[in-house]
């Protein structure tokens, strides 16, 4: 079917090794270089990476396992990562495991069979059981976004605790004391970290955390809508809300519009992620921005380093989020009512 190196060898009268060497950056006589190039063109030769992968035991392919591709956060990370990896000759196989631990395990085994050179995972399963299969292979493994307790490997995370701490402290600094929060699922690492940050900001300011001000969503638009509805109903005294991911932030904005509650004037809001959305809102949203593309780039960089040189002590990259100020938070005077 497709032309092979053998065909090039026959066509040029050269040996296999010469072609191979040339293809891998070796030197050949100018005369032969021309012959080879011509044969390649004529026969539409393209290196067979499968054969190369078998021979070198390196597929130049990286596996990625994520809980949900249909999330801007995930897709932005992947975009940033895939870009760099491909530019370096690495393919990316993405497996969406739908936040299902069993599917996650299947995906990992699948990638092991595919002999990916490295694995990037935003883990769903919380104990790292699924990762053992991969660790056996002794290949680079990078955790993103979520840590696994007691599981030591390279990671690229954002400082969620600080992100939430800063956001809530900002609200407190503006005079707010009754601050609602729409958190993520209770069992997700980032969600717990963000709620910790929320609590810590209160503690530091000497404000008691009220249970009724905390609701949990599942990181979807719909749950953002419901979260606001619930918060507003339960807390007439609430003057601000912190929403802990993009989809729920969008839901929150929609719900507030729906309820006729004006952002800033009636209720202050700090959202999460997706600067474009935040800027497009009116008033522009104050948000915690995670450097999604940067995360992807860091992961790619780290992975490229690891596939080249697997040894070395663990690397943990913590990226800072940024509190980007829009106009969704009002100054609350000490004596004013809502």
């Amino acid at each position: 079917m497709a032309a092979t190196m053998k065909d090039i060898a026959r066509e040029t009268g050269l040996g296999l090794a010469t072609i191979s060497s040339y293809l891998n950056g070796g030197n050949v006589r100018e005369k032969n270089r021309i012959k080879i190039e011509q044969a390649i063109k004529e026969l539409h030769y393209e290196v067979n990476e499968v054969a190369r992968g078998l021979r070198t035991a390196a597929t130049r392919t990286i596996g990625v396992v994520i809980p949900e591709l249909n999330s801007v956060f995930c897709s932005e990370i992947i975009t940033g990562m895939e870009d760099i990896l491909r530019a370096n000759g690495y393919a990316t196989i993405v497996c969406d495991c739908r936040s299902d631990a069993a599917l996650e395990k299947e995906a990992i085994d699948f990638l092991v069979r595919k002999r990916v050179d490295g694995l990037v995972i935003m883990p769903t399963e919380r104990e790292g059981k699924n990762l053992n299969a991969f660790l056996q292979a002794g290949k680079p493994l990078i955790l993103i976004d979520r840590e696994i307790q007691g599981f030591d490997c390279d990671s690229v995370l954002t400082d969620n605790r600080k992100a939430a701490f800063d956001a809530v402290s900002y609200l407190i600094g503006k005079g707010h004391t009754d601050i609602g929060v729409i958190g993520g699922p209770r069992n997700v690492f980032t969600s717990r970290e963000r709620l910790d940050g929320y609590a810590e900001a209160h503690r530091k300011a000497g404000i008691a955390v009220q249970e009724s001000l905390i609701v949990h969503g599942d990181y979807t638009i719909r749950s953002g809508v419901k979260g606001i509805q619930r918060l507003v109903k339960l807390n007439p005294h609430m003057t601000a809300v912190f929403v802990t991911n993009y989809e729920m932030t969008m839901g929150a904005v929609i719900a507030l519009n729906e309820l006729g509650i004006r952002i800033h004037d009636d209720l202050s809001l700090v959202g999460f992620d997706n600067l474009e959305f935040a800027r497009a809102c009116s008033p522009a949203l104050t948000i915690v921005a995670q450097p999604t593309t940067k995360i992807g780039e860091e992961v790619a960089g780290l992975m490229l380093k690891r596939v080249g040189e697997p040894e070395g002590s663990r690397i943990h990259i913590r990226l800072e989020t940024e509190l980007i100020k829009g106009n969704s938070v009002s100054e609350r005077k000490a004596d004013s009512n809502r």
Copy 2:
């Protein structure tokens, strides 16, 4: 490193062919089956798909080239497709070419070298030049979302023209005659089809198309915001707007909130895609819903059929969109003013 079939053979005392046969569904004596299973478990054996791929000239990998992974439309299609493909043992390598024809060509060549068994592409380059490299290989190729003029191959498209025609006809049926439209980039297939449908609905109703009612965005949130601003400014008489993709619909909603223009009461709106967002809006948006997940599933099904049996005449799947009615369109009486 990792265990091979040879190891299993040694461990069990059986021959290579027996192991291979068993692994591929062949029959072995019960006694041997147990021995093999045990050895597999002990040695953590996982088939090397690379070697298998080389031998069988089938990698069980499908390449996907899209213009932008960071778009809900694309990511939903991929999610639906990848799900089914992986369940059938096929990996998916996604390449985001950023709507850049040169990057698209690189991606295709890359996938050819990876010896993918099939290619799914939402083409950026409009003449099919980039696809020649792949056609040489004689492997299945499926176009999604966008056609290429004069280029004959399998495709899964939605009926964009009809989608737009229905949406605009619906608005006309409600009494609207001054209907703005936020179209996509002029050179994108779907964008032109949707604008054609817009024009056709006018033609059929005997309403002249006004140039000032047509603006072009680039399928981003921001361009939806700008599109509305522009339309509203230029057309005080406009009573309805049709927005032709999800990101721009979101932008439109945001811009209308910003401008204090009430959806339904002040301006009727028909958006595009993402039912969840539409339902979460207040009032719920009337939208054209493309069956994104279904597209992905159809593509996967078609691809699985083609890799099994490459021959057969071209298949063109056209999926219908659905006009899902929310409450964003008002009835306009013949004599009323805006």
